[in-house]
């Protein structure tokens, strides 16, 4: 069964460093998303991506964040100059928005900023 794959599963980084979180969406999907979840709390929307551009971004997604789809398969989230409060679980999701089709989520990357 197709699935969304995220790497790494856990990343520890020092405050101020840059991190890149990687996602491989399901191959025929066209809509991609990043979400953040702090310690099992609410699932916060960061950004959606369609047709090689950002469709929508939240107030959380400031200049510190960027997304790329560099090679037609990977979908990355870059966080520049990480802060302690960026520590969270980051989920990638993809969808084809077909009938009765949900967005599928990856297993997440746990980011710990120390």
């Amino acid at each position: 069964e197709p699935e969304v794959t995220q790497t790494p599963s856990h990343q520890v980084t020092q405050m101020g460093q840059e991190v890149i979180l990687r996602c491989v969406p399901i191959s025929n999907h066209l809509y991609f998303y990043w979400y953040r979840q702090i310690l099992g709390q609410k699932v916060e929307f960061l950004v959606s991506f369609y047709n090689n551009e950002i469709s929508e971004k939240s107030e959380i997604f400031d200049d510190q964040f960027s997304v790329e789809r560099p090679d037609g398969s990977n979908f990355t989230l870059k966080i520049r100059s990480t802060k302690l409060e960026d520590s969270a679980m980051y989920f990638c999701a993809s969808s084809d928005k077909g009938m009765n089709t949900e967005a599928f989520f990856g297993q997440g990357t746990r980011l710990t900023v120390v």
């Binding site: 609410k42 699932v43 959606s48 929508e56 009765n100």
Partner: protein, 110 residues
Amino acid sequence: ELKVEQNPLFLSMQEGKNYTIYCNYSTTSDRLYWYRQDPGKSLESLFVLLSNGAVKQEGRLMASLDTKARLSTLHITAAVHDLSATYFCAVDGNNNDMRFGAGTRLTVKP
């Protein structure tokens, strides 16, 4: 900006009882989802609801959608311990921004 509200946030039930989780959203949408999340895990899709009056059932869970009232419900019938988890509703916004409610943490007690 699309707002999604869920209630209750916490729900403690006895096994065998019924209960309903509510999800309200602020703007028109043609797509609503229910997800389940177990502790430390990712989000597992339960239902996709696409039209007014849509009703879907899977086991002890039934979801419905009223697009005019901008309301969806997730009804739990004869709860069992295995249903203990956090349940989220999510709504598609106009700019492909799928937004989540705060989640309902369900605990089913024997």
